[in-house]
Each structure stands twice: as structure tokens, then as C-alpha cells.
Symmetry: D2
Subunit: 479 residues, 4 copies
């Protein structure tokens, strides 16, 4: 299900003494790579001097031994991986954003989407500010640094600035002497921190970035919380920016996050397996084998198999040597194009009634392809089961799904979708069920706006944002 | 289990009319990439003109749109992916080998290892031949082209030459007008062919290369058989080169081949799953979850789960964004280094008694690492089950395992290995069982020399071969 | 004489209708490449949308067909090549600077050095501005855009802003609808414009960038002048920013500019040849051949030969295939290192008394090397003649020569320098003569501060600027 | 005059003790780069182990610090730069050729063109030899190694083999213990050697490769001579391969070689300057300035100026930052395309009657362009003078000029050529004069077949050679 794209992953490291922070950041970002594959960056702070490098591409493409050496040793680092949403994509918005201001320097990495970006930027431009990017990070930096002219500390400035930010954000930033993490009051996007074995801390979008650094998970950053890391440890500041209720993004559990991550106390693998189990009870079927859509459907398939008693089988092989391909699918017939990266295991499905479990259907193209692959491999029946409700509404809180995208469930009934993708049956997880899979998070603290259209906070006027985004394009994207 | 490396994968395409054979070869080789990742090459025949490109690296790295365009359209193509075994590694032995001789041109790609390379080469050098490489393909080319001086056709020359070749080989070659495939009489290495929808044929080391070209599987090349493909179709020649019995490599089923391939009529997935099932009966254990070693242990794990009734769980996440990394594991503590590419899913294994199914243990390093990862993720017990017998003897038939390699089973008892890798129990598949998993291939037609030391044909004198290999090194390997 | 480095070259293009401006900018920047080889950038304006690309490296390295295509067609473009002076070097200050502000977008490219950078930036930071770079272009952009909040047009804002800028600058900038060029009142740095054959204009640091675009030279931008280019043609605005007198940089004629350029009405080739002629009269010598130091000494040598009657000979061959070399001269003996790029023509100098004409001696290393090369090639005597006075004072107006650099003429008498470089005689052009070689520019309108220490305007406090520059480093320089 | 291309440059180094030979080879090849820019290679011999690297591109592109390190330390090295002539171009014929044979290893680099390639190859193929390339080096290697089966040493085998080689060749080869140089009996191509300061020898196509290695010129290799370099010094073998008279290529002096080289005792600079002097006497003209065609016309122009008394001026600036450009001249008007790399200095030629001295006119395109550039820069008259006779006949001895090339002098009278290129007058050096410029080489020992069609030895049948060359193409040329 490749058409939904998370906006970003952030990383911050604070060490008590100088060390190879560029390499540590590299390792941590590699573990967050699934959250963004368009560009990445690392900034390292050595005694107040900020060295940084950003470019388009995967972490393993952008960074190399020489770059890491040039970034040097340091005490604090901030890293970032990103997609961009459609209107903020490209080199121009690479992060971390590194700036100078009256009171020092700031390197800032963010995951999320401000819903009042346009009005904030209008205000700042009225005051004479100039903007080098079209992204949220610069507006947030503006808000913080302007408050900093009068605030006694960066964290105080951040707290004040947070009062004016709407939408979703999960920030990691460094000043010459501190690492600061903050999560928006609604906590749409995950953010947690851990303790380094040799002293110091790691902040990351997902807990899966901690083990590679040998870090021990401490806890999630709380909604609206600021945590300041320095030599004296981790200090928490509870902000009161509107006392908004939590609205954790359900899609983090369903699709975005890595199965080995635990977000806000909930295992991603378990949430998915539970969705599969409920689905098996909500929509049982007579079948011989359960297979998962690659890769995010596997946990759900294992859950479905467990609850239904139908055996699980590894239905697909993914070609792991083709990260990117220059094959233009348009030049080959579509069925063939898919087979470059994905192949069904005939021995698993041939002559069988197959339950195909996947996480979601956005535009329907992928589902159609994998159903056909199964049939070509000899599946007698293909019963599709989706571990989430139909995806009906655009997301404004950090996901690259816009109203203008062709959401298949918006245009077709479930029956029609079943026909389009060629399945023998198709069923989705119910709204009531999806709210339970991230237990013990209370249902009302989960954002499922993409399923039910009930947006927890104001949504932006797309036209306004376009006004900014459609002006500057930094070319030179990596293929 | 990354320490066993297959030597090569070969591909040949014959079309009735000119087409984008470079692109087709690219697609086919991508599907065979798991058989060799050091170098690759494609030769395309357009009306008798041979255009070719070879370089170190993955297919997706070596080939690019411009190269494919330069290779042009054609009727016949030969492609190759390779590791090298230790003594024939490197750019110098890249294939296909493309040469000119008295009767025309030849492009040849081979998978296997001649056991009488040294004596053949000595003979040819005595006759004044010069050698540009240290690989089997050149010696085979010599044998064929010298016979060709008097033989009436290339296939006749090949048939004669096969009489002098010992060891393993599976060849695809093209002349200006024909595509020819041949498999050594013992058929150690797989080779099959399929029919293209628009006319023509594809020959490949594994059947998994066929679907991406839309080809329909026809059959495996038989031991000692030559098949000639041209405008009149596929013509089979049964050679009588020694009437040696078949010795199909068991490790193709256990580890090398892709699970969706069917070799000599046996599904790789099924052979592995069957091994897991037998293992569950031979070595049962009280446990809560079965997980597979990434990636080749998954099919075995599913089989073990099915036969034991213990649920299967996706125990590991592999970072699919890191194909190669420049992290030197020596610079980091070993446990951390592993976590860059591989992470356990704590939610699957924490607090549980885990059965860890893997395909083999060669040096023990990988097994030790994944056992530790499971324990760190909270596994209460780790019971390791190996879907093959202990690996005790070097392979001389096309696998990169030499006598000098530190085979752990050669130096330690199973009990000691269990302690070294830190498992709570360790059991291997029995010799009698392993011979049954590739049924209906009769046990005596399988080579399991690596398990029992009974080599089906003479093994070479390593020192003799070294005499050649240690003289020329073409530098410039891709990292 | 490679140790003096010009800071930048700028380019602007305005077309009446859309065209391949990225390619045109590429061609123009290649002709200005001698003015800066560290980084370069191009911004193209298509109907108000600014696309841009910047990176470290030569124009021919940074730009490629795909980038140029991505930059697209447009009506207006701005380009830049740069060294950085020591404290503003690196990726962080790549230009053109492209920003958004209240009244639109701005792409700005500058050549020069503000002497009041620190106080301007302090002021802006006090007002809450944040800075992404440590370069002049951003401070100038700030000054312009803040004035633009109240000014009726960008040119009016620029005029106001120019009132606050001290030091040297030669600007090209584009707004959504206009191309604007401006030259500081002292006109240290050159700037001219020409007319495109098909309508439209080109602005460039040097006239040598015009022919490749087929443009006809119109005139130099006047000191303190703003020229606005749009559909109605070129409109001149004479600013009154302090009514400072012109101080054209003499070193543009002596070393920086290309011989085929004409700056402020004076041919660079002619100024150099004239310097050689005067030198022949001021410091004659009995000799057999006149050779020029490569490459900027050749015009002077031809002048010296003409005035002295001693024949001119091509004394050196420069290896034109080595743009950059990874040979570390420290690893080889120095004499050898020089010979990689430069070789004397023995047949020209062997057995002869040689006059070696060069443009300047900064640290003495190069001169010492070329004198030795001539002697090794058989020169009997080497008489060095320099087409400028001794270089004694640092430059604060856009050249990378700082007080801390080891200016040989500051530490040694001419006699001592002669001994250090191993010449048989050494003479410099006199102060009075150097002022005449750029005639008809009046001597008092030339800056020769590097020779006589009489700075035409206030010089900056280095420590203040360092405060900013030493904080942010964007790594990843091209080797 | 870019359309004539030399085939190759060769380099060999012998050291008494192990040293950084890869780096030394790199330096030496950079100095020979003008002799071939399509591909290059280095082979280093360390205690009998041959490490080598070859690829398409300039030496500075193909080699890098890592490659040089991989090539390691050694006692003997062989290097090569090449164009290919039309029918042997491309990666397939990259040199040095490195092979294994019965008696050891051989790395061979050659400059020249065998005229009996086809018959030699036919013979070898009849004997069963296979060929990996379409180049002379492989046929020569065959000849040597076959003789070596019975000869007592490689040099003896080489001597015997030389008896069968016709045409031009200048060889450097290494065996496990020796460096061997040989020059064909007609000595078309240059080859000389020098002594390394720390012991050992350098062999090179031109003497200009010696200074960068600190080597002292010893002497040219004599026609038909073999020189063997080993620990006991340099040993000369005079072969008697047909007692053919010397036919030194006149075009080496006129165009190919670097001005600072001395070939067979004659300075290239002096030969060119002398040609210019004679031309001034043979074809005087009333004019104001003499300029040279870039770059090989400069020495002739200086000679013309000296003899005529008309001042010399630097008429053109060559953009040294554009080694290769991806600008397709076809996409721009031709006049503009030229200006990317070449610009006239208006101040030198404007308002003047200009003598333009160049080395040759092959197809006329370049001459036409530079005459036009001079006129656009204001030249009143342009009188072209060519320092060689009209180029009328193809070269079969190592130059890329074939009968099928459009030699302008073959199709047009001098008067017509003058009109085509737009000159006010055009004169060539006379046949009698050109034979004197390389004095003291006797006129009859110079090959001027390209001017007079008198080929000193049999010329090959192009069709026969094409039979081989048009069969194999190794794609992937560097752009």
C-alpha cells in the first residue's frame, strides 16, 4: 500500500561528552527511514558550532563516510528524514532547518503539519520576515526566535510560541547548549525518548530508533509537553497551549510505523495483529490459507490466521535488491511491471482459497495488482480483508493524502471496489473495531478523521497554503 | 544466513523478431539477483553484432537507461549475475564472456565450478592459448571453440567439449544465430526454460525469472542435455558425457534459491516448509511462538508452526532501506552493528518461549546474533531448529565454502554450538529427512556432500587452481 | 598567480518571451567561471514561479542536462559563481539567494563585500530576523525586503537600502516581473549589460559573458546606478547613496578579469599589455626571450616584448586535462608537484637570458616554482618583471586576501624577494605607472589600496564578522 | 584542429625496489593525456602479481585515490591512454592488455596500427585462438606468447614476433620480472626512455612525461630496437626485422606531440616555430598582428611573427573550465557553440589586418569558425597560414583519419577552401619546406604520406579489418 506517505521522522541526541554523533545520527535515521525517503539531514553541535548536511535521497545515499567525518564529533545532534506533502515537497524544505538569530543558533526538525501555517506566515511577513522555504519548520523557528527576543530561554520562547501553533507537530531542536523536544497538544505524531548507556539521551519519532544506539526506552513525550535535555538530565515542562485533547493518529498503527515500534504504550505489531483477529471474527470466510499484503499486511494476516484457525502462509516474495527502478511501468504492461518487485509464491496459494489481508485501500491500484498476482499463481478464490475502515477523507495533519486524490472508497461502494480489484469478497474493519485496536488508548483520543471525517481541529484552506508553496521550487531531486 | 554464497545466475533469451532485449535481460537478471551480487553483465545480439556491458555491482546499479539503450534491440541475449568463489572473484571474471573465434562470435554465461579447470587450462596453454581471466567460462569457451574448428556446428562442438568438463556447470550461450543452453550431466545447478507469449524462449537458472517476462514455464533442462533455440523452435540434444548420475544440489532448496522458484519439479517453498514440518516432528519443544530467521528461515518456520500447532509470528523486521552500509561493524559493538539491518519485534516474542527456525549454521556468527536479539527483546527461551543437517564439508561445485572456512560444526559438537550461540536447545534436521524434502527427486540423485562428505565426483586440488588465480587482479570493485 | 581569488561573478537575463533560460544561464556562467569555482547556482523565473539549483563545484559539474531541463523555460534568470572569502566560504552561502517576502519573491546574486555587514546584521537580528547564511546577500535581501514593506516598488526599496550599504557590491536580482541590476556607488566590482538579438537583456560581471549568448554590449552599469529591465526596456535610476567617488578595483585589470573583457571602457588585455610596455621602459634588461607567467602574465609579456624588442616565446605548457587533481603536493617533492600542471618549454628558454613577466607576487611560492622550472629547462638568467606594484595590504572589498595572509612584500624587501624566488633581477611596476594602465579611467577613481594602503572607505572589524561566520558550517564541499 | 586524433600514449616504469608505482603511472599518464582521451589503464606488478584497472575516460576521471591504493606498490608498471581509430574504438580495446600464458603473465601497451592485422589474426584463429578484443595489442600478444612457447625469453619471443608485424607500433610491456620496450623498425611513433633519480627507468611515448617523475632523459628507442629493463640496467637488442628504413610521422611535430617534447632529437616547439618562419618567407603578407590558432598554432604563429617582423598577439582565450560540455552544438547556432570554449580577444585584433597561423585544415569546420570569430571581433583582414601542406591522404599508421573522412583539400582547391573558410588569403607550407622542419632528421626518413600519398609500407585492406571490428561492441562509453 505505497500511496500513503508519512511526512517525516525526527531524531535528537544529547550526550554528556563529545562523541561520534554524526555516525549515531546516521544509524538512528536509518531506523526511521520508512517515515520519509525523499530527503534527510543531520546537524551536529560541537561546542556551539553547528555543522550540517542535507540532501535529497535516502540516508544511506546522502551520507557517506567523508560527510560523517566532516560533520565531526559533538555533544548534540538533530536529524530528519522526510517526504514532503504535495505542497511542501522537495529540496527547498529539507530539514533540520539551521538558523542564526539574535540569541544564538537553532537547528530544528519537525514531523507534522500546521493548520494555521498561512496566517502565521502572513503575520511574520507583515513584520518584514523573509522566508527561504515553504515549510512549517521555518514558521515555527520564526515564532520561537521572535519570542526569544524577550523570553529568558529557548524553552520559554518555545512554550509561548506553541500557544500560536495549530495542527500537528512533533519537534526536536538544539541550541548551542540544549536539546529540546516538544509534542503538539493533540499529539497526532509520535515522539519518545530513551537513555543512552554511556549517559545522555535520544529523542525519536518511533521507539524503533533506540536499539541501534543501545538506548533504553524511557517514555513517550506527553501531549503538549516540552522536554529539555542537558547536562543535568531531562527536565519536563507541561505547557497549557489550549488544553486540547489528544488525537493520536490511528494510521500510525495501521500503516506508517514500524511493527517493532511501541507508540504511546501500544505495540504497532499487536495493534495490527488485533485488527486481523477482529476482522476474522467480523468477516469470517471458508478458506485454506491466509496471506498478508506486502509488507504492512503481514501482522494483520498473522492475526487473522490465529483467530480463524486458517493457516498463515508467506504468499509473496519481495525483490529486496530493487530499491528504486528506472523501469517506467507505463512502458510495460502493468501486470509485468508489478512482477519486478513482487512475486506470488505459487506453492503457497495454488489450488487454494486465499484470504488476503492488507492494511488499507487508497486508490485501489495496488490491491488490484496483488489480487491478480494471486490468481495467476493459481489461487482459486481471493477474499480480501482490510484491517481498517474505508479511507474516505483527506488528512491535514501530516499525511500526504489530499482531497483531490482519487480515494476509491469515496467514489465507489465496497461492492464496486471488490469488483474493481477482482476479489471474491471484500470486507473492511468496522469503525467501532478500529477504535479498539490501539487500546488502552481511549477511542476518543484517537484521530480517525480519514475514516469518519470528524476532524479534531480546524483544517486549513488549501488555497492559502498554495499561495506560498507554488512559488519556489528547488530542483535537482534524486531520482 | 549470509555467509554461504551461490556462485552465479544465468539468463538467455531468444526472440523470433527484434525487440528490447536489453530491458528484458535487465528484468530477468533482477529476478536472479539473489544468486550473485558482485557483478553482472548483458550481451545483446542484433543481426550478429554483439553489444555487451559488464561491471561490478547490482544489476540495478550497473545498468541504467542509457546503457540499456546503447545495448540496443536484438533477437538473442545472454545475461549473468555472479559472486565469485574466493579464487575467481572480481572484475576479471565478469560474465557473459564475449569472444571472437574462427567461426564467429560467442557470448557465454555459466553457473558452476569445473573440478578439472587446472588440467584443462594447462593443456590449452601448452597449445599456445592465452587467458584473459581466471574463470571457468574462458576455459569452457576454449574447449568449445577449439572443437568448433572441426565440428559442424557450435552445438556439436559443445557436445564434444562437454566430454572433457568435470564438475558442475549450467551454461547459456549465444552464437550469431542461436541460443544454446546446456546443463552438466550431474545437474548440480538448476536450469530451466520457458516460452515467451509473443514467440521465443527464456532460459534461466531459476523459474522465478520467467513471470516478469510473461514467460510460461516449459521444463527443466535435463542432466547432460543441450537445448538449441532458434527460429525453428527448441531442439534437444542428449549428450552422453560419461553417463554420470544426477547430483542436484540440496542447498539450492535449503538456502540459495528463491522460495517462489520450482527447481526440477520441486517447489523451493514447499521443500523448506516440509523440512520445517519434519523438524517439528523430529525435534518438538514446548513453546509459545515460532519465528523464522530472516529471510530464508521463514518458510521453514511456517512449516514448523503448522506441524507443531504452535503459532507462527513475524519475529524480525529487516531494514529494507540499507542494501549496503559503510558502517564497519568492527567500529561498533557487534550487537549494535546487527541492529542496523535487523530488529526483533518485541511484541511477538517478549515473555514467550520461542522456536527459532533457520536454514543452516555455517560459522555461527549470525545465529548467535539473532538469538541474542530475541533475548534482548524479551524471549524467555530460544529453541533453535535448523532445516538442514550440520554443515561439515566444503563445496567444490559452485558454492563459496572452502575447506579453510571456519565451519562451526566441524570444530564443535552440537551441544557446544548451542552454547556458543546461546540457545536453550538446538536441533538439526536428520540426514535421512533432508534427503526426502526435495521429493520426488530420489535421495540418491541429490548432492549432500556438504553434510556427509560423499562427493559425487572428483574434487579439485586447490593449490593448482591458486596457481592461476593469484596472478591477476582487476581492481576497482564496487564497495 | 593562483593565490588571489575573486569573490564572485553574477549574471542576469531578461527575455521578452519565454525561452531556454537555464541553458543560457549555464553558458553565461561558464564564461564567468574564472571569477569563482567553489559553487554556483541558477534561478529561473517562469511566470512568477522561481525554480533554482545550487551546489558546490564548477558550473559544468553542478549543472547537467536533467537539471537544466528541470529548471525549465522562463523569462528571467539570475546566476552566480563564487569563491567565498575565508569567512563566508562554503555551501552555506551559495547564491543566488532565493527568498519569499511580503511582496513576492526575490532571487539575488552579488559580487563584493559589505564593510558594515556586522552592524547591519546586528540591527536586523534585534528586529527578530533570522539568518540562514553568513553571507552579504542575505543581509542585502533583508535590507531590501524591509524597505519594500513601505516602498512602492522593489527598485525603490533597493534604492533606499543602498543608502545603508557600505563597501563593495554589484547586484543582479529578479522579482516575479523584473530583472534589476545595481552597482555600488564606488563601483569596485564591474557590471555591464548587453542586448539580446531576439530582444531582452543580459547583465554580467564581465563583458566576456555576452558573446556566447549572441548579446551586443550596451554599456557598463554606472557607479551607484540601478537599472530595471522589463518588457518596456531598460530603465536607469541614478541613486544618491552618499555621492561617494568611484574606486574601480585595479586588480580586476591586473589579474581577475578575462583578457577579452572590457571593463568600464578599458580592455583588460590592453591594460596588461600596457603594463608590460611601461615595465619594459621602467626596468629594461639585456635578454634573449620574454615569457609570461601562466596564464595571466602572457598579455604583459607580449607588451614587454613589443616595447623592448626582445622576442616573445611561449615559455610554458599548461596541462589542460587536469582541472582538479587529488595529488597531495605535500606527498611529493614540491618541484615535482608543480610539474603535474605546468611544464617549461626547454626549446624556448634553454641557453637563453629570460625575462619572466607575471602579474603579481602574493606569497612568492608560485614565482619561486616557475623561476626554478625555467632554470631546470636551461635558462641562463631569469629576470622577473611584475606588472603591478608590491602587494602590501589586505583587500576588504571582495578579494580573498586578509591581513593574516603571508604577503611576501610585507615581510621582505624587493631584494630579499628576488633571492627567495631565485631570480637574477626583480622589478615591479611603479605606483605612478599602475594608475595609468587603465586609462582613460582617472587615477583617483581607481582603488589601489592593496598597493598603497589608502582604503577608499571604512574597513570592517574582522572580529565582528567572525562572530557570525564561525557558527554554522554546511559540510559536503566538492573536492 | 580537433579532428585529427592520435591513437595512443604508452608508459612503462621499472624501479629497483618497490614503490608507489600506481601514483607514478598516474602522473606520467596525465602528461601523455593529449595523446588519447577515450580510455586509460594502469597495470602494476608487485612480486609477479599483476593488479590492473582500465576504464573509459580521462586519467583524472578513471583513477582515484582508492583505485591507486588498490593497485598497490610495485616494481614495474605499464600505463596507456588511447583514442581508438574508428574501427578499434571503445571499451573493448582498452589497454594495457593483461594476459596469462604458459610462461607467465604479460601486460602490454601499444601505440600504432598494424597494417597486417587481418592476416595475422586469420592465422591465429586458424590455430584455434580466441579473441576478446578487436585491437592490435591482442594480436601482438598472441604473436609473442606463441613464440614464447619455444623462445628462451620474452625478449627473444618479441624479437621473433616483430619479424611478422607490419605497420607502426611502439610497445611497452611487462613480464613478472622485466620491463620491455620496443619500437617498430619504421619508427612511425615516438618512444624514449629516461632514468629515475632513485634508480630505475621510465619509458614513454614522449619526453614530456619524464619531468613529472623527476626522470632524466636518456635517449629515444631506436627503430626496430628492443630495450629490456631489469635490475641489471637497460639492455639493448637490435632486431633485424626487415631492415626497413625509418619513417617518422611528420604529424607528431606538426600537431600531435606536446611542444615541450623532444622526439628523436627534435624539439616539437622548434619544428613548429621553424615552420612558421618558413611560411613567413614563403607566403608573406602586409599585416598588423600575428595570432595562432588555439592551441597548436601558437608556436607557428610566434615563428611567423619573428620572421616577418609583424608583432605576435594572444588572439584567443580558451575556456579552461570546460573539459567536456553536454551542449549539443546542433541545438545552438554554430557560431555560438564555438564561443563556449573559445573567444577572440577583440583588443588584439580589432581594426587590424590579422595573420592567423594554424597547423592544418582537415575538414575546414574549425578554421571557418575561428576566421569568423576574428572578423566578429573586428579584424579587418584575416590571412590564414598553415604550417603544413594540404592534408590529402588517409593515415594507416596510427591516426584516426580514414579515406572516407571528408578531407577538404581532397575535394576543393586552395582557392575554394579560402572562400569556404572566409579568409582573405590562404597559404600552406610547401612539401619541400615541411621536410626540413624536423631537421636534422633526413627528409627521406619522415613519413608525409598524408600530404603526398607515398606510403612507406603496404596499407591494409579496410574491409578485412572491418570484418573483425564490426562484430563486438562493449557499450558504456563515458560521455
Amino acid at each position: 500500500m505505497p500511496s500513503l506517505r508519512e511526512e517525516c521522522g525526527v531524531l535528537g541526541i544529547y550526550r554528556n561528552k563529545k562523541g561520534p554523533l554524526a555516525m549515531d545520527s546516521y544509524l538512528g535515521l536509518c531506523a526511521l527511514q520508512h517515515r520519509g525517503q525523499e530527503s534527510c539531514g543531520i546537524a551536529v553541535n560541537e561546542d556551539g558550532l553547528f555543522r550540517f548536511h542535507l540532501d535529497a535521497g535516502l540516508v544511506s545515499e546522502v551520507m557517506n563516510p567523508r560527510i560523517l567525518e566532516d560533520l565531526g564529533q559533538g555533544q548534540i545532534a538533530v536529524g530528519h528524514v522526510r517526504y514532503g506533502t504535495d505542497d511542501t515537497r522537495g529540496r527547498i524544505n529539507m530539514q533540520p532547518l539551521v538558523i542564526n538569530h539574535r540569541k544564538g543558533r537553532l537547528a530544528l526538525a519537525n514531523n507534522g503539519a500546521l493548520t494555521n501555517y498561512s496566517s502565521l506566515r502572513d503575520d511574520f511577513e507583515e513584520k518584514g520576515m523573509i522566508f527561504h522555504t515553504t515549510g512549517d519548520a521555518e514558521v515555527i523557528s520564526c515564532a520561537i526566535t521572535r519570542e526569544r527576543l524577550t523570553a529568558g530561554s529557548t524553552e520559554e520562547a518555545l512554550e509561548r510560541a506553541m500557544g500560536s501553533l495549530d495542527g500537528s507537530y512533533a519537534l526536536v531542536m538544539m541550541t548551542p547548549r540544549k536539546l529540546i523536544a516538544a509534542r503538539g497538544p493533540r499529539a497526532f505524531r509520535p515522539l519518545c525518548y530513551g537513555k543512552l548507556p554511556e549517559g545522555g539521551f535520544v529523542v525519536a519519532s518511533e521507539s524503533c530508533a533506540l536499539p541501534v544506539l543501545g538506548a533504553e526506552f524511557v517514555r513517550d513525550i506527553r501531549p503538549g509537553e516540552i522536554v529539555v535535555f542537558n547536562d543535568t538530565g531531562a527536565r519536563s515542562i507541561t505547557t497549557h497551549c489550549g488544553s486540547k485533547p489528544r488525537s493520536a493518529c490511528m494510521f500510525e498503527y495501521i500503516y506508517f510505523a514500524r511493527p517493532d515500534s511501541v507508540l504511546d504504550g501500544v505495540s504497532v505489531h499487536e495493534a495490527r495483529a488485533r485488527a486481523g483477529e477482529i476482522l476474522a471474527r467480523e468477516h469470517p470466510v471458508q478458506a485454506d490459507i491466509v496471506v498478508g499484503g506486502p509488507d504492512s499486511g503481514i501482522d494483520g494476516a498473522v492475526g487473522y490466521a490465529r483467530a480463524s484457525g486458517i493457516p498463515y502462509g508467506p504468499g509473496f516474495i519481495k525483490n529486496r535488491y530493487i530499491a528504486r527502478t528506472f523501469i517506467n511501468p507505463e512502458n510495460r504492461d502493468r501486470g509485468t511491471a508489478v512482477k519486478i518487485k513482487l512475486n506470488p509464491v505459487s506453492a503457497v496459494v495454488s489450488g487454494k482459497r486465499v484470504v488476503l489481508v492488507d492494511d488499507s485501500i487508497v486508490r485501489g491500484t495496488t490491491s488490484k495488482n496483488i489480487v491478480r498476482l494471486l490468481r495467476e499463481a493459481g489461487a482459486l478464490e481471493v477474499h480480501m480483508r482490510i484491517t481498517s475502515p474505508p479511507f474516505l477523507y483527506p488528512c491535514y495533519y501530516g499525511t500526504d493524502i489530499k482531497a483531490s486524490d482519487k480515494l476509491i472508497a469515496r467514489q465507489h461502494s465496497i461492492k464496486e471496489i471488490q469488483e474493481i480489484i477482482g476479489a471474491d469478497s471484500l470486507h473492511y474493519l468496522s469503525h467501532s473495531a478500529v477504535r479498539t485496536i490501539a487500546a488502552p488508548i481511549p477511542p476518543k483520543e484517537l484521530c480517525i478523521a480519514c475514516f469518519n471525517g470528524q476532524y479534531p481541529c480546524d483544517i486549513p484552506n488549501d488555497a492559502l497554503r498554495d499561495r506560498y508553496a507554488k512559488r519556489l521550487i528547488r530542483v535537482g531531486e534524486l531520482q
